[in-house]
């Protein structure tokens, strides 16, 4: 009994490290004009995957193998009316988590008023445990965290083909997030 309790006590911090608490990023959106908050855990992804396979013929169904390898998809994206309406320091807990959990920062692009960071989480056999993107612009900040058991080629799927609809999110002077459609909060 005592051994079991000891094992549980040891396992609890590991379990806590397993995921990042996205509530720490909520402050980012305090002044946001548009918020996109998406949390899809394993069960929700299974349901979505099942639905993809049920349809079977749509273009999006081609990403079913990719979706099947995912265990969590978390998006926090906030748009602001004016510059300087979010505190970049709010992202520090996420960076600390990624560093602690042995994610590798593979890309860092910095320009005067914006930056992007891409992290990968290497696991055994050349596979990836996830990908994370932090994109900060003067009036928009986006955090993407995708967990799973990904192959290298899955990155190509994620970055722009195989049925993922192109919403032209990064085109200037065009509609960004479809307003009213996806401004949901948890």
């Amino acid at each position: 009994m005592r051994k079991t309790l000891l094992l549980l006590a040891c396992a609890m911090p590991l379990a806590a490290q397993d995921g990042f608490d996205f509530k720490t990023l909520d402050k980012l959106g305090d002044n946001a004009k548009n918020k996109t908050v998406i949390t899809l855990d394993g069960d929700m992804l299974k349901m979505a995957s099942g639905f993809l396979s049920n349809g079977g013929k749509s273009e999006a169904d081609s990403i079913k193998p990719l979706v099947d390898s995912l265990t969590g998809v978390y998006i926090r994206s906030f748009e602001f009316d004016k510059e300087g309406q979010y505190n970049d320091q709010t992202l520090e807990p996420l960076r600390a988590y990624l560093k602690q959990a042995s994610w590798n920062k593979i890309v860092e692009s910095r320009e005067p008023k914006e930056y992007s960071e891409i992290y990968l989480h290497p696991i055994a056999n050349g596979r990836l445990g996830g990908i994370a993107v932090i994109s900060a612009e003067p009036r928009e900040v986006t955090v993407v965290l995708i967990n799973g058991n990904l192959k290298q080629e899955d990155l190509a799927k994620l970055s722009g083909n195989m049925g993922i609809p192109d919403l032209k999110l990064n085109k200037k002077n065009s509609d960004k997030t479809p307003k009213g459609k996806k401004d949901d909060e948890e």
Partner: protein
């Protein structure tokens, strides 16, 4: 007393003489009495038609509930599950779109800064 009176008295005695009942008389009387008692009680039992008895209605209602409710609940749960799956699918595709956009945006920025395709 005249002969006529004597005949009359004789006939009267004959008519009123004690006569023993047959051996199965008591049994017959009891059987008849039981039969008439049962016949009297029977209308009380069938007084209410079967279809009007509360117990029958209760059993029928129970059977109907048992037959109808589980499929309805199952259908409702299935519909909710499908709605949740559709919502999850939409959110997933939107999330992957955002991911794609941000990865492409980063790639474009790097291409701009390095002037070389990745």
């Amino acid at each position: 007393m005249s002969n006529q009176d004597q005949d009359f008295e004789k006939e009267l005695r004959m008519a009123l003489r004690r006569e023993e009942p047959p051996a199965d008389f008591a049994a017959k009387v009891l059987a008849r009495a039981k039969e008439s008692k049962t016949a009297e009680e029977r209308p009380k039992v069938v007084e209410m038609p079967v279809w009007r008895r509360p117990l029958v209605w209760a059993v029928a209602a129970g059977l109907a509930v048992t037959a109808l409710v589980p499929p309805a609940v199952q259908q409702y749960q299935q519909r909710r599950q499908e709605e949740r799956a559709m919502k999850a699918e939409k959110e997933l595709l939107f999330a992957l779109s955002i991911t794609r956009a941000k990865l492409q945006h980063t790639r474009e920025k790097i291409q701009r800064s390095t002037r070389q395709p990745l």
